[in-house]
């Protein structure tokens, strides 16, 4: 090569890339519309901690105790109750997704309660939605136990309380006392957006240069490959951070998600993650040199693992072993915990730094790979 790295050429390439980004509607789509859609959907759509679940209630006993318990089920913040005379009446409703469970207060409920025996109620759940089924069972039982304890106290039988409620679980949730799921989903959607920008968009724009023949013309100028690669990284790095900022501002301002950590930590984490994301994008594009293939591979190696295997929606320890091993090589796996921590908990460096370190290593690895595959040659 006759001349070395030139900042002037880098600046020119950088400006060119910026103009192209500004003119391309698909960049806009990914960098601004996608975060918006994700935030709205994740902010509102996916939350298990929400409103009332519709259930059916069958009261087969007309004792005072049964009616009192039935009232407890009707008036609480978890259930929206529809009363019926028999289980048979409610069965079509449960098949038809109109209700998710049935609570049956049996015939001898009042009698047994009066005698001081345990009077079990029957909880029927819609097993086709296992999580909802568990919630209904847990909350219905909780309501019943509370009712029994209250009754024991008001009746002046405090010794029965222990029997009615053997051990109470006093649950406190750190970082997110109201258990609002958008608190952890929104950091997760930042991960998705940065992956899409870092990996997918970068893979596409580099593949486009190969496809349209502009790469060929550029390679015949004194341009250095390092300049070219740097000119691709810088704008998308900036765009990725910009999109992260947009997500954060929306999350904090619109969705009221707390940001307990420092902005410095947030930027450090996001910036480090963009390295492996961009590196992967560059590697894919120089290996395929074709937009369609690049987009599909970016989807399979970037987007899907980030969505499924990063632990943001689905718990990694719950997965089968081979898939748990697979998650070790998913860079986003090391992004999601520190990101969630910075939002919900604060700057817990003992958690942040190891993850940042691993992401850095991945970044270096992918960059080495893409430098090895991007050669100044059409062969």
């Amino acid at each position: 090569m006759s001349v070395g790295f030139s900042l002037r050429r880098l600046r020119a390439l950088f400006l060119k890339e910026t103009v192209q980004i500004l003119r391309d509607p698909s960049t806009f789509l990914i960098a601004f519309l996608l975060p918006l859609i994700l935030l709205i959907l994740f902010g509102y759509g996916i939350n298990l901690d929400s409103g009332k679940t519709r259930i059916g209630l069958v009261v087969q006993d007309d004792s005072q105790a049964a009616l009192s318990l039935a009232t407890t089920f009707r008036n609480n913040r978890w259930f929206d109750v529809r009363t019926a005379r028999s289980i048979e009446q409610l069965k079509p409703l449960i098949v038809n997704d109109k209700i998710r469970g049935i609570i049956v207060i049996p015939q001898d409920f009042g009698k047994k309660t009066e005698k001081g025996e345990t009077a079990p109620i029957q909880i029927i759940t819609d097993g086709s939605l296992p999580n909802t089924a568990d919630f209904i069972a847990a909350y219905a039982e909780g309501l019943r136990a509370t009712w029994a304890a209250d009754r024991a106290i008001t009746r002046g039988h405090p010794e029965l309380v222990a029997k009615a409620m053997p051990v109470q679980l006093d649950t406190r949730v750190w970082f997110n006392p109201s258990l609002t799921s958008r608190y952890f989903l929104i950091p997760g959607s930042i991960a998705i957006v940065m992956t899409m920008i870092g990996t997918l968009l970068t893979a596409l724009v580099v593949a486009r240069e190969w496809e349209r023949g502009t790469m060929e013309a550029m390679m015949a100028t004194p341009m250095q490959m390092t300049e070219f690669i740097a000119s691709k990284i810088l704008p998308y790095f900036t765009l990725g951070l910009g999109s992260m900022v947009l997500c954060t501002v929306l999350a904090v301002m619109v969705f009221g998600v707390p940001l307990r950590g420092s902005l410095f930590a947030l930027f450090l984490i996001a910036a480090t993650y963009l390295l492996p994301a961009l590196g992967l994008g560059l590697f894919i594009s120089s290996a395929t040199k074709n937009q369609f293939a690049a987009s599909q591979i970016a989807l399979m190696t970037g987007f899907l693992p980030t969505l499924l295997l990063s632990g943001f929606l689905f718990e990694i320890p719950s997965m089968p072993k081979p898939i748990q091993w697979l998650t070790v090589i998913v860079p986003a796996r090391y992004l999601v915990p520190p990101l969630q921590t910075v939002f919900a908990a604060g700057d817990i460096w003992s958690l942040i730094l190891p993850n940042v370190g691993i992401m850095l290593l991945f970044g270096i690895g992918f960059f080495l790979l893409s430098f090895l595959t991007t050669r100044r040659s059409l062969d």
């Binding site: 929400s50 345990t118 029997k163 649950t171 718990e315 719950s318 908990a345």
Partner: protein, 366 residues
Amino acid sequence: MERLIALIVKEFWAMVRDAKMRIVLIGLPVMQLLIFAFAVTLEVKNADIAIYDQSDGHYSSEIINRIAGSPYFRGIVRLNSYDEVRDAINRQRVIAALVIDSDFDAKRQRGTPTTVNLLLDGRRSNSAQILASYLQDIVTKAGMPVTMADREVTPGSIRRNWFNPNLSYYWFDLPCLLVLVVSVSSLAVTAQSVAREREMGTFDQLLVSPLRLPELLIGKMIPPMAISFLHGTIFLIVAQVIFGVPFTGSLLLFYLSLLIYMLALIGIGMFISAISKTQQQAFLGAFMAIVPLVVLSGFANPVENMPEWLQLLTYLDPARYFMEISLGLFLKAMPLSQVLERLWPLLLISIATLGTATWLFRARME
């Protein structure tokens, strides 16, 4: 008729012979089947929990033993101070910590109400919450005769899970994944089909042939339809044979619903194809369509848990109806009348999307 058949045959060959399309057709579904089916579970298993037992008595040990014996928990980390507990949660070594007060056993012995403290990591609130309900179950049963300690029975209630007695998550996941897989592959194929011909210059060639627009559209619809039937059937078999998910409803109804669902989805794909100039745009368009389609379907979260206004939006999502039908036919032997209740909105959506796509094609022929 010859024209239509020729077009359909060509579409099939084009799909099968193109290496890139094979990625979409085979790579994506295989990946979805393998990784989704195993990874995509909202069940929480093998969680790590910290225990700070200040009581260290008979009752507290019983609770700990029960936790250790539960499949939901993998590692139990014994800690000896609040600081350690804080650190373990902060660093996400554990997702939850159970703190048992020093007077726990004494109180139990006296028969006074006792409390166990549970600290959860709110950064992962969903999983933490699910774990909390498991733990509630465990501590409630502590102190009861072991024979009564199975999941069906709690002291005050008898629980029965209809349609899925053991609450297997696969029984829920696979019928839903079926919907996702047929949606993703058919949408991708449809959205690409016309955009690809536009980019390669063969679209003009089609338009100057005597093929009429309806023929053209039908020809473009059949292959994604066939793919979805193939993928659907494979999933139907795999779900039953490998994952043991029962199929209790009518197969006929299943395929009828799949057909109508596909019409709606292909309409969306055609719409994207019609407005895209390049494959790139078609790809991004399909991607942008799939995200809300899936999120609003009720897969990750039951529709009834969404806020009102979002629930209204789900009525526009064809995947919502088909997911209910799929779960219903797999597990609940959903009867004809109830399937029809979900089919007519689906039919309306298909007419709307296909109609718009056709109109757009006519308008954009120029």
